[in-house]
C-alpha cells in the first residue's frame, strides 16, 4: 500500500466532509471538483485508464460546468449580479 494512495484516499474523505461543512456554495463546489479530480487519479492508480479519462472529462469537466452555470443562474456567484446592475 503506497503512501500516495493512502494520502489520496484520505483527501477524498476530507473533500467529502468539506463539501458539507463549508458555508459558501461556490467553495463547496470547487471542493467537489477537486474530489472528482482525485477520483480520476485514483482510477489511474487502479489501472483503469478508461475510467480516469471519462471521470476527468465527464465528472470533473461537464458536471462542474453544469454546477457552475446553475450557480450563475441562481446568482450565487456574486460578480454576475453587479454586472447586471451596472448594465442597468
Amino acid at each position: 500500500m503506497s503512501f500516495v494512495k493512502i494520502a489520496l484516499l484520505g483527501m477524498l474523505i476530507v473533500c467529502a466532509l468539506g463539501v458539507s461543512l463549508t458555508r459558501n456554495l461556490l467553495t463547496s463546489l470547487i471542493i467537489y471538483m477537486a474530489y472528482s479530480l482525485i477520483m480520476a487519479v485514483i482510477w489511474m492508480l487502479l489501472e483503469s485508464p478508461d475510467l480516469a479519462i471519462t471521470e476527468a472529462a465527464v465528472g470533473a469537466g461537464i458536471t462542474s460546468v453544469l454546477f457552475f452555470v446553475t450557480l450563475k443562474k441562481i446568482h450565487a456567484i456574486k460578480g454576475d449580479r453587479d454586472h447586471e446592475q451596472a448594465q442597468k
Binding site: A52, A57, V65
Partner: protein, 338 residues
C-alpha cells in the same frame, strides 16, 4: 375551550353522517369547529338538512377559509420552537442513521474478499474469456471497449438511452417554448431563464484562447472517439471532450455564432441518427446472435484503425449522442434553448 361536548353534531355518529353527506374529512373536524359555529342544535336529521341548505351557498368560502387556516397554522408552526426542536431531532436521527450505515458497511467490507489478490471470486471464467478470447471475438485491443460494446452491448444501449431521456427531461424543464409567432415567451424571459443579455462580451483574451484551444480540443475529442477500440477512451469520454470544446466556443463567441451550426433541429436529427443507427446495428447483431446465425461483419486486423467490426461506428454514435446531450444541457441552462 369549555364548550359543552354534548352537542349532537359533535358526536362520532353525527360526524360520520355528515362526512358521508358532505365530504369533508372526519379527522379535520377540529379545524372546522374552530372556524364555523357548531352545526345544529337539535339532534335530528332534519336540522342537519336545514343547516346544509343554509351553508350550501357559502361552502366554497368555507373550504377556502379552512385551507387558509390550515396553511396559516402550518406556516406559523414552521417558526415555532416545536418545529426547531423537531428539526434538531431530525438532524440527530440523520446523523445516527448515517453513522450506523457507515458502521454496517465497514463491517461488511471487513468480510469482503481481500483487495488486489488473485484468488478472489471475481477472477473467474468470465474475465478469462474476455481477456483471452476478447481480441479474436471482438477485434478490439481495448478489452473494456470490446466488453461494453460487444459482450454486454445491451447495457450500453441502455446507457445511451439514459442520456437521451435525460436530455429530453431537461428539455421539458428548461426549454423556452416559442409562441405562435415564433417568438420566445416574454414571461419566461422576464423570469430570468435567459441570460442572453450578457453576451456578447467580446472578451479578447477569452476569444483569442478559444480560437487556439477549440480546434485542439475538438481534434483531441475526435482522436479519443476514433481510438476507443485501440486504447483508453471511446464514446463517452470522446463525446464529453467534444462537447467541452463546443461549450468553450459558445462561451467565447456567443449563442448567435454557435447557433449557426448547432440548432435544436440538428440536435434532434443527430440524436435520431446516432441512436437509431446504434439501435438498428445492435438489433441486427443481437438478432443474429440469438438465432445462432453469423452476423458477417468483418473484424479486420486487430490494431488497425478500421478494425473490430461494429465497435468503432458504435463508439462514434455514442460519442455524438454524448456530445449533443452535454451541449444541449449547457445551452438549456444558459438560455433555455439553442
Amino acid at each position: 375551550m369549555s364548550k359543552r361536548r354534548s352537542d349532537w353534531a359533535q358526536r362520532p355518529q353525527a360526524r360520520f353522517l355528515r362526512w358521508m353527506r358532505e365530504g369533508y374529512g372526519a379527522l379535520d373536524d377540529e379545524i372546522i369547529s374552530a372556524v364555523a359555529q357548531p352545526a345544529a342544535q337539535r339532534p335530528d336529521a332534519e336540522a342537519l338538512e336545514e343547516h346544509d341548505r343554509l351553508i350550501g351557498t357559502h361552502r366554497h368560502e368555507r373550504e377556502m377559509a379552512l385551507d387558509r387556516l390550515a396553511n396559516y397554522d402550518l406556516q406559523r408552526w414552521a417558526n415555532t420552537r416545536g418545529r426547531k426542536a423537531l428539526t434538531r431531532l431530525y438532524v440527530l436521527l440523520a446523523l445516527l442513521l448515517g453513522a450506523s450505515l457507515i458502521y454496517f458497511l465497514l463491517d461488511t467490507v471487513a468480510y469482503m474478499p481481500r483487495f488486489g489478490q488473485v484468488a478472489v471470486p471475481t477472477n473467474n471464467e468470465v474475465i478469462a474469456r474476455y481477456i483471452e478470447k476478447g481480441l479474436e471475438e471482438t477485434g478490439a485491443i481495448n478489452i473494456v471497449a470490446g466488453m461494453i460494446l460487444d459482450y454486454r452491448a445491451f447495457d450500453t444501449l441502455g446507457e445511451s438511452t439514459v442520456l437521451f431521456v435525460a436530455a429530453c427531461a431537461v428539455l421539458i424543464l428548461l426549454r423556452i417554448d416559442l409562441d405562435d409567432q415564433g417568438q420566445p415567451m416574454q414571461q419566461l424571459i422576464a423570469e430570468g431563464s435567459d441570460d442572453r443579455h450578457y453576451e456578447p462580451k467580446n472578451d479578447r483574451i477569452l476569444q483569442g484562447s478559444a480560437m487556439v484551444l477549440t480546434p485542439i480540443i475538438l481534434l483531441f475529442g475526435i482522436y479519443v472517439l476514433f481510438n476507443g477500440h485501440l486504447g483508453p477512451g471511446g464514446g463517452f469520454s470522446g463525446g464529453a471532450i467534444l462537447s467541452s470544446g463546443l461549450i468553450l466556443y459558445l462561451n467565447a463567441f456567443g449563442f448567435q455564432k454557435a447557433g449557426r451550426f448547432f440548432t435544436y433541429k440538428i440536435f434532434m436529427w443527430v440524436s435520431f441518427f446516432s441512436l437509431g443507427f446504434y439501435g438498428v446495428a445492435k438489433a441486427y447483431s443481437f438478432y443474429m446472435g440469438a438465432n445462432g446465425l453469423n452476423s458477417g461483419i468483418p473484424l479486420g486486423t486487430p490494431g488497425a484503425i478500421l478494425s473490430s467490426g461494429l465497435i468503432m461506428p458504435l463508439n462514434i454514435a455514442v460519442g455524438l449522442v454524448v456530445a449533443c446531450t452535454m451541449y444541449i444541457f449547457y445551452a438549456l441552462f444558459r438560455k433555455g434553448g439553442l
